[in-house]
Amino acid sequence: MRNLVLSLCLICCAGFAAALEIEDNQRFGPETAAVELRLLSTADTRFFAPMIVSFLEDNPDVAIDYTVASSAEVMAAIQSGDHAFDLAISSAMDLQTKLANDGLAQRHISDATEALPDWAIWNDMLFAFTQEPATIVVSKRAFDEKSIPQNRQDLISLLRQSPERFRGRIGTYDVRGSGLGYLFATQDTRASETYWRLTEVLGSLDAKLYCCSSDMIEAVKTGELLIAYNVLGSYVVNREDAEEFAIVLPDDFTTVMLRTALIPKGASRPEMAGTFVDHMMRRAHGSGGARLTHPDLSLDTRVTALNRIRIGPGLLVFLDQLKRQAFLTEWESAILQE
């Protein structure tokens, strides 16, 4: 009965494309293209455009409709199956994994996907095309080169030494609202107990909580923050004013998020979507293609401390409502300290 009600509700919603809360929508390629590929993504158009442009060079008779939405919206759109997107691209690895695990993704097997390393592909459904580290972003104006903390231990010591200097001027994700923040935080707890100590220190210094990486970067730029913890490094290096920031890949361990793509069950052009995935994989992993990460984020030299988040059912654990509840309770008690 509940399912019936839900279905009816969804059928009603299907009439309104506006039911999907979009942030941006752009069309690439010729107006008269015979085939239109609909992409739903969490990545800014500016960030993803090179990939689309290079694809259209190889496939001139294809047009691409690119829609940007939040990871929760992407998840909801694919779950409802109403919008007929051909490809879903998201930074929320856990949500993408859940979609694939719940059978909402199609399998895609090709030469390009078979050449992928194990960590970049899951069940022939999820394909990773970037590696983006969670970094500590520091304002260069506030620190000289030598005193920049290189790992969490350094950061904790620094904060404890001069609490008054940092009170209210450090920021991190509000994991209750941000999917990516939650993912980074939960993976940090898996890697080391240091996270909890750091969170308590952050809480004791009235750390500010943000919804997204770009806001934190802005806050560092304006001088509102001195240090932002767990910021997507790729967002910083892609800025024109990147010189103003010091990006620290913590050398105790660096959590690395993989941006993934999946072809939804309801895709209207799954073969073309597969071709696009192959293009992404070749460009991202092939020797001649663009690098998975920005060269300034020298992940290659950090292999030992690299904590690449593994795609797999483990990611479902922190999506469990009981587990999530338990984690948030603990996190709140650490950071809010009421």
Partner: protein
């Protein structure tokens, strides 16, 4: 000789049965290996699922009537460690759903501490589900927590496909090995039969002794009947030879009397026609008496051949004796009998038999040579063999008859009108072969026959 009526082959039948047995066993091995492997793969998957479900169950706490489940990351990530698997789980308190996938069926049918398993389909794919339970005390009384964990089977299928291939290889290998062994076994099973065949076919034409070599029990009846057959054959052969010798002997004396009488009548009679008739009669009597004589010779030779003497013989001496004994007959026919190139040489053998053989050859030569011709006897010796050569200047042997001339009662086409039984060369051949020698019958280039008897030298 008629070719035996062949139907099937023991070796082939044995081989075929063994191959079929090997094939059946190979198939059985294939299925057994596969089913054992399937069981093991299933068990190991079940164990992992149960471990996962237990670790979730163990992380559950009941405090103040509330259930909190803080299960470890590994509870689900362990299910994906070997191959990419979709994983589902469900946590429930008695019948109320707490967390996970609400639609996931559970395997438990009864309240039991041991895990229960079921294979079913969920969200479009085949899954294996493990369910575990634990009883907990709630405010309202005893209740139980139940955790089900499910996993897709792609890894298990891969493993099974690999094991299936391995099982196939094992089965094939088993078959090939068995086939090889089958060939060996068939070969060794048939070997006594081969040995018997060889020992029977190796025998000389006169050898009718019973088979004495040991044979396997299955072949004893066959060999026994074979032996009894040969014994009967031997007896019947002996009897008929005795009979022939006896008959020849009995016929010879009356024939001699009839011949004498005919000669006396011939001398007395003046009538020309009677003379001619009597002459033909004497000729026929000579023929019969000669045949009877040779039959007796043959019987004697056969008898002696059963147990021949082995003495040192001066070949040249023996040849000379034979030639001298026949010289009167040669003189009578006005045939020049030459004895030359008498190389000395010794051989082992039975003097009487050899003399009989030489006598027969020379007698033949004299018989078929026209008056006034030459007959030449030579004795040659080299390192390997001794040979006696008899050459005449008669009509020679007809080419087409040559291979058969040594058979019993076979005579050359050109022998009509000459007294003979067809036994002479048969006797010669048997004697020569009994001494390990060979007989060669040819025609000389200038006309006339040539018989060469060769013996290995001592």
């Amino acid at each position: 000789m008629n070719a035996p009526n062949q139907q099937g082959s023991i070796r082939r039948r044995l081989l075929l049965s063994l191959m079929v047995a090997a094939g059946v066993l190979a198939v059985v091995v294939y299925f057994v290996v596969q089913s054992v492997a399937r069981q093991v793969a299933q068990e190991s998957q079940d164990n992992v699922l149960a471990a996962s479900a237990r670790s979730i169950l163990d992380s559950a706490r009941v405090a103040g009537g509330q259930v909190s489940v803080d299960f470890p990351y590994s509870a689900l990530s362990m299910l994906d460690s070997v191959s990419d698997e979709r994983v589902f789980y469900k946590i429930q308190l008695q019948d109320s759903f707490l967390s996970g996938y609400e639609g996931l069926p559970d395997a438990a049918e009864r309240l039991a501490e041991t895990p229960t398993y079921v294979s079913t389909e969920f969200l479009g794919e085949e899954v294996r589900i493990a369910t575990v339970r634990r009883s907990v005390s709630m405010d309202v009384g005893q209740s139980y927590l139940q955790v089900s964990v499910a996993q897709t089977l792609s890894g298990q299928k891969q493993t099974l496909a690999r094991i299936s291939r391995t099982a196939l290889v094992i089965g094939l290998g088993f078959f090939v090995l068995s086939a090889f062994l089958a060939v060996v076994v068939a070969q060794s099973a048939i070997r006594p039969l081969d040995r018997l065949t060889a020992s029977v076919s190796r025998r000389g034409p006169k050898d009718l002794r019973p088979v004495a070599a040991p044979v396997p029990s299955e072949m004893v009846p066959l060999v026994a009947s074979l032996n009894s057959l040969m014994e009967r054959l031997q007896r019947s052969l002996t009897r008929s030879e005795d009979f022939i010798a006896e008959a020849a002997h009995r016929v010879r004396t009356p024939l001699a009397i009839v011949r004498t009488k005919a000669e006396i009548i011939g001398r007395r009679s003046q009538d020309n026609e009677t003379q001619i008739a009597l002459s033909e009669m004497i000729h026929a009597i000579d023929d019969s008496s000669r045949t009877a004589g040779q039959l007796l010779d043959h019987a004697m030779v056969t008898f002696r051949l059963d147990d021949p003497l082995s003495e040192e013989i001066e070949l040249a001496q023996l040849v000379t004796d034979t030639v001298e004994r026949l010289r009167p007959i040669a003189d009578l026919k006005e045939i020049d009998l030459h004895l030359d190139r008498l190389t000395a040489g010794t051989l082992r053998g039975d003097r009487i038999l050899l003399q009989n053989a030489f006598h027969n050859v020379l007698d033949n030569a004299l018989k078929y040579s026209p008056a006034g011709s030459d007959v030449r006897v030579q004795c040659r010796a080299d390192d390997a063999e001794l040979s006696v050569v008899f050459q005449d200047t008669g009509p020679g042997f007809p080419a087409e008859d040559m291979p058969a001339l040594t058979d019993r009662f076979v005579r050359g086409d050109n022998a009509q009108g000459i007294v003979g039984s067809g036994l002479g060369l048969t006797i010669v051949k048997e004697v020569v072969e009994a001494h390990g020698g060979t007989i060669s019958i040819t025609n000389s280039k200038g006309g006339g026959g040539c018989v060469t008897l060769s013996f290995p030298s001592v």
